[in-house]
C-alpha cells in the first residue's frame, strides 16, 4: 500500500507520538467508553514513558483511566463516571487514589461532558443545559482555588444563570467548553491517506477529537484510502485533524473493538485481582505494561488462546457465547 506524503508524516512509533504530543502536565482526553475501544497501547506507552501530572478529561471511562491513575501519571481528573462495568463498578485504582487524595477529582455528568466537548469542537466558549440543577455537581468543586484559572482550568466549574429568552424564572446551568491538549483514540481502520473510520458506536470520539489541539489514533488496520472513499458517509475523521497514526492490532485489549474482538473477561478479572492491592497493581505493571516495547510482544504475552476466544463474529460484532461470568 502506498501512503500519501501527509500520511507518511503521521505514521510514527508510540514512543514518538507520546514524546511529541503527551508532555507532562498535558490535558488528555480518552476516546472509547468503559470497556470499549480504550486506547490501551498508547496508555501503556504513557506509563512506560513515566509521564506525570496529566489532567484527564473524560465522560465515562474505564480501563485506560484506571491504569493511568494507578501508575501515578495523573494529578487531576474531570469525569462523569470511572468504572469498568461489572468487572469493577468503581475503577479500583481510581477509587483508591480519590479516597487517599492522591488525585483531584471534579465530577460532571455524561451529558455535561458531551456538551462541553461539543462546545469545544464548535468553538463555543460555553454551553447551557438544565441537567444537574439543584445537585451537588453544581455546588461541590473538585478543583480548588489553587488550580482554578490556571492553564485550561476555568475559574468556575459551572455557573447557574437565567435563560435570557424566558419571561418567567428559568435557571440554566452554563458549562465551560473543553479544549484538551490531546485526544487518544482507537479506531477500526485508517486509510493510506489518513482518513479514519470507526465502526459501531462512536461514543464521543468525534467531538473529543475536534475539541483537541492534537489527536493520536491507533488502529486495527491500515486500509487503502480508495476503499474508505467509496463510501465516505461511513468515515469518522478527516486526516487533517489527526497528528499521529499507529497501527495497533488488538490495540484496545482488554477492552472491546466492535467487529474485531470482544472485551476480555479473563484479563479484566485478572486486572481486578491484581489492582485490589498496591503491591498487586505494581506486579500488574511489571508483568503487563512495562516490559513491552511493541504491540507484538504484548500480544504474545496475552497469548493466542485468549485472542482466539474474544475474536468477534463479523456479523454480530462480538464473540457470541464468550464466557463473561
Amino acid at each position: 500500500m502506498e501512503f500519501t506524503p501527509s500520511m507518511q508524516k503521521k505514521l510514527m512509533s508510540t514512543a514518538e507520538a507520546v514524546e511529541r504530543f503527551v508532555p507532562d502536565g498535558a490535558m488528555v482526553s480518552l476516546g472509547g467508553f468503559t470497556v470499549n475501544r480504550n486506547p490501551m497501547l498508547i496508555t501503556r506507552e504513557i506509563i512506560r514513558a513515566g509521564r506525570r501530572d496529566l489532567h484527564l478529561a473524560v465522560h465515562s471511562h474505564g480501563q485506560a483511566l484506571d491504569l493511568l491513575i494507578g501508575a501515578g501519571c495523573v494529578s487531576k481528573v474531570e469525569l462523569a463516571y470511572g468504572g469498568v462495568a461489572r468487572f469493577a463498578p468503581t475503577g479500583i485504582r481510581f477509587r483508591a487514589a480519590a479516597s487517599r487524595g492522591d488525585i483531584l477529582v471534579e465530577d460532571y455528568s455524561n451529558f455535561h461532558m458531551s456538551l462541553r466537548f461539543l462546545a469545544g469542537s464548535l468553538g463555543l466558549p460555553f454551553i447551557p443545559s438544565r441537567s444537574g440543577l439543584g445537585t451537588d455537581v453544581l455546588e461541590k468543586w473538585g478543583f480548588g482555588p489553587e488550580v482554578r484559572g490556571q492553564g485550561k482550568i476555568p475559574e468556575k466549574k459551572m455557573v447557574v444563570d437565567q435563560n435570557p429568552f424566558a419571561e418567567e424564572e428559568d435557571p440554566v446551568v452554563l458549562l465551560p467548553a473543553l479544549e484538551p491538549d490531546v485526544t487518544l483514540l482507537h479506531a477500526q481502520c485508517v486509510g493510506t491517506g489518513g482518513t479514519v473510520r470507526i465502526k459501531g458506536l462512536t461514543f464521543l470520539d468525534v467531538e473529543q477529537a475536534r475539541a483537541s489541539d492534537a489527536v493520536i489514533v491507533t488502529c486495527e488496520e491500515i486500509v487503502p484510502e480508495d476503499y474508505l472513499r467509496q463510501d465516505p458517509d461511513q468515515n469518522t475523521l478527516p486526516s487533517f485533524l489527526v497528528d499521529a497514526v499507529i497501527p495497533a492490532p488488538v490495540g484496545a485489549h482488554p477492552t472491546a473493538c466492535h467487529q474485531y474482538y470482544d472485551y476480555d473477561p479473563t484479563h479484566l478479572k485478572l486486572y481486578r485481582d491484581y489492582a485490589s492491592s498496591d503491591d498487586g497493581f505494581q506486579r500488574y505493571l511489571e508483568e503487563w505494561v512495562l516490559p513491552f516495547q511493541t504491540q507484538e510482544e504484548y500480544l504474545a504475552k496475552v497469548g493466542a488462546p485468549d485472542l482466539e476466544r474474544i475474536k468477534a463474529n463479523r456479523v454480530l460484532g462480538y464473540a457470541p457465547g464468550l464466557d463473561r461470568r
Binding site: G32, N36, Y81, L133
Partner: protein
C-alpha cells in the same frame, strides 16, 4: 406458582411499570432485565436504548455494560452520546430511565458519587454518569436499590442525581420541566412518592416480606400504611425472563 428469586421479582416489578410505547433508557444489570422483560411482555412497541448511542439492539446476548459491543448489534441506529441524549431529552417521547445508586433519600435524590467528605471520601463511587442527566431530563425514572438502612438515608452525602429535591414543587422550582422518580424497586418491595409532598411511601411488599421489615431496613420514616402485597411473578413473566432474556443467568445469578 413457581419459586422465584428476589432479582427476578425486582426485574418483573419494574417491568410492569412500563407503558407500551415508552422509550427505555437502560443501564446494565437489573435495569436491562426490567427493560427487556417489559418490551417482551407489556410494551411491544417500546424501544430500549443506551446512553452510548445504541438504539433498539437485538439483545440476542445480554450486554454487561452500556458500552458492550452487544448494544451495537442489530440496532436501528449506531450513534454516539450526543445522539443518545437527544433521544433522552426529547419532549415528544415518554423516556423512562432505569437508575441505581449507592444512597437514596426520602425524596428520591440519589448519591452515586462519594460517601463522607467529597474531597477525601471514605468511599468513592463511579460518579453520576448519565444517571444525573436521566434524572434531570427524562420523562420519568425508576430506581433500583438494595433495601438497606445505610442506603436509604435521611440525607444523601452527595446529591448526584436529582429526585424530587426537597419535595413538594421544589423540583419544578429548581427549573426542571418534567421528570422525577416514579418508583423505587428494591429487594423488599416497590416504593412510590406522595403526589403532593413527593415523600416516599411503601406501595407494595413482595410475598413473604412484612411491611414492618421494609420500615426496619429504611433509614428514614416510611409510611407503610397504604401498602399491598405485590402480585407474584406469573409463569409467562418468569419464562420470558429465564428462557428468552437471561438464559445464562448472567445477571439473574
Amino acid at each position: 406458582m413457581s419459586d422465584y428469586t428476589r432479582k427476578e421479582i425486582m426485574a418483573i416489578s419494574a417491568g410492569r411499570l412500563v407503558n407500551d410505547g415508552d422509550i427505555l433508557f437502560a443501564g446494565t444489570g437489573l435495569s436491562m432485565l426490567a427493560a427487556t422483560v417489559a418490551k417482551h411482555i407489556y410494551a411491544p412497541n417500546s424501544v430500549v436504548f443506551f446512553e452510548t448511542g445504541g438504539i433498539d439492539p437485538s439483545l440476542h446476548e445480554l450486554p454487561l455494560a452500556v458500552a458492550d459491543p452487544r448494544v451495537m448489534s442489530g440496532t436501528c441506529l449506531n450513534t454516539g452520546l450526543i445522539d443518545a441524549f437527544a433521544v433522552l431529552v426529547h419532549r415528544r417521547l415518554r423516556t423512562i430511565a432505569f437508575l441505581g445508586a449507592a444512597q437514596i433519600d426520602p425524596h428520591g435524590n440519589l448519591n452515586s458519587t462519594a460517601l463522607g467528605d467529597y474531597h477525601r471520601p471514605s468511599a468513592r463511587f463511579p460518579g453520576a454518569g448519565g444517571a444525573l442527566d436521566a434524572a434531570s431530563l427524562a420523562y420519568g425514572s425508576i430506581i433500583f436499590m438494595a433495601h438497606q438502612k445505610r442506603r436509604f438515608v435521611p440525607q444523601v452525602d452527595y446529591l448526584s442525581s436529582p429526585g424530587w429535591l426537597s419535595g413538594g414543587d421544589s423540583r419544578q422550582k429548581a427549573g426542571f420541566k418534567r421528570g422525577g422518580p416514579m418508583a423505587v424497586v428494591t429487594d423488599l418491595g416497590v416504593m412510590k412518592f406522595d403526589e403532593q409532598t413527593k415523600y416516599m411511601y411503601l406501595e407494595q411488599y413482595y410475598p413473604g416480606v412484612a411491611p414492618e421489615q421494609v420500615r426496619e431496613n429504611t433509614g428514614f420514616e416510611l409510611d407503610v400504611s397504604q401498602a399491598r402485597e405485590a402480585e407474584p411473578p406469573n409463569e409467562k413473566e418468569l419464562t420470558t425472563l429465564r428462557r428468552d432474556i437471561d438464559p445464562g443467568r448472567l445477571i439473574l445469578g
